[in-house]
């Protein structure tokens, strides 16, 4: 049951540890190794403009992804990686509309081990959560999240991720945050055809080569060696 340590275990501990903010070895390594000169790149980026987010929501999402994924030596900033576009398209599409969610009542809060129990699609949850977060920000700082300074944004996100913030309208903050976090991560590392991970910047950050993966000879050839990734997306092969 390899999966436990891979997903369950890791993610859970990750959430717990997030606020501890302990010492971390942050020595920057050369993250991006491109051995091949880039030729003309298929665009692979979605058109700008939003299909679901309204003006307030767009401002929130853009501010959030740029705070969570700042421009640095590892990647461009969140909006430049297409994260806001990715999130908007995800919410506007089948997943955001809850196409595979069991949506029959009766609705009860249940216990945490019973998982997701809200009568909301991901798109509805996002909308309600942004409104509730902005209400918290207005009450605490006198302005919406996108107009806060970096330190205040950090306070809010830590409050959400640790559930120290509670929403006065009853929306469970943990459920909102886990959905938000999932979409940010998906936007960074999903194939660029979905609008995020623009120019494969998420993959380049960690050295994940993408979709061409005929590795039968590479196990020996690159045993304990850095793999010279030729970053390839679905668009590059289409």
């Amino acid at each position: 049951m390899k999966d436990i340590e891979k997903e369950g275990f890791g993610r859970r501990d990750f959430l717990k540890s997030a606020v501890a903010g302990g010492a971390v070895a942050a020595a920057a390594t050369a993250a991006v190794v491109t051995t091949q000169p880039a030729q003309a790149q298929p665009a692979g980026t979605a058109a700008s403009g939003y299909a679901y987010l309204n003006l307030d929501e767009a401002a929130f999402v853009e501010a959030m992804v740029d705070h969570m994924v700042p421009a640095d030596q590892y990647s461009p900033k969140g909006t430049d990686m297409g994260l806001a576009i990715f999130i908007d398209r995800a919410l506007a599409g089948g997943w955001g509309k809850g196409e595979r969610l069991y949506m029959q009542g009766p609705w009860k809060p249940g216990v945490p081990s019973q998982g997701y129990q809200l009568p909301l699609t991901p798109a509805e949850l996002y909308r309600a959560g942004i409104a509730a977060t902005n209400a918290h920000c207005a009450k605490t700082y006198g302005k919406t999240f996108d107009r806060l300074d970096a330190k205040q944004k950090q306070e809010v996100l830590i409050g959400l991720s640790s559930a120290k913030i509670t929403f006065s309208d009853g929306l469970p903050v943990r459920v909102f945050w886990s959905t938000v976090y999932q979409t940010v991560i998906e936007g960074m590392f999903a194939d660029p055809i979905y609008g995020g991970n623009r120019d494969k910047a998420g993959w380049k950050m960690i050295g994940f080569p993408g979709v061409i993966a005929t590795h039968a000879q590479d196990i020996i050839k690159y045993r304990d060696k850095k793999f010279p990734a030729d970053y390839t997306s679905i668009s590059d092969m289409s």
């Binding site: 091949q36 030729q39 790149q41 061409i212 005929t214 000879q217 030729d230 590059d236």
Partner: protein, 123 residues
Amino acid sequence: MYRKITIAAAMLFAMGAVHADGDAKRGQKLFDECVACHAPERGATGGVGPSLFGVIGRKAGEVADFRYSPAMKRSGVTWNERDLDAYIEAPQKKIPANRMPYSGMPEARDRADLIAYLNATFK
């Protein structure tokens, strides 16, 4: 982003090629690596890969009823023994972004025998 086929690969072939006297019988055994996807029969369809009947002398990406990658269709290759050798050795190097899930056959002699078999059988 993709490397163009290097001159080196072609040179290597020119110096060490053994295609002409490849062992078709041994090549038949080596073709076992290919049969999960490629049917040897003329006009075979529905496989994971296209039929290899008559591949030598054929333009890449032209078997009817097979959906090739854009890279293969764009490649401009007409399969001769030299191109086939380079492709089988390192498919992603010869035609980057093609969609054949195969890492390549590293031994020159193996490739020569395989090509001899393809030559002898599929035309």
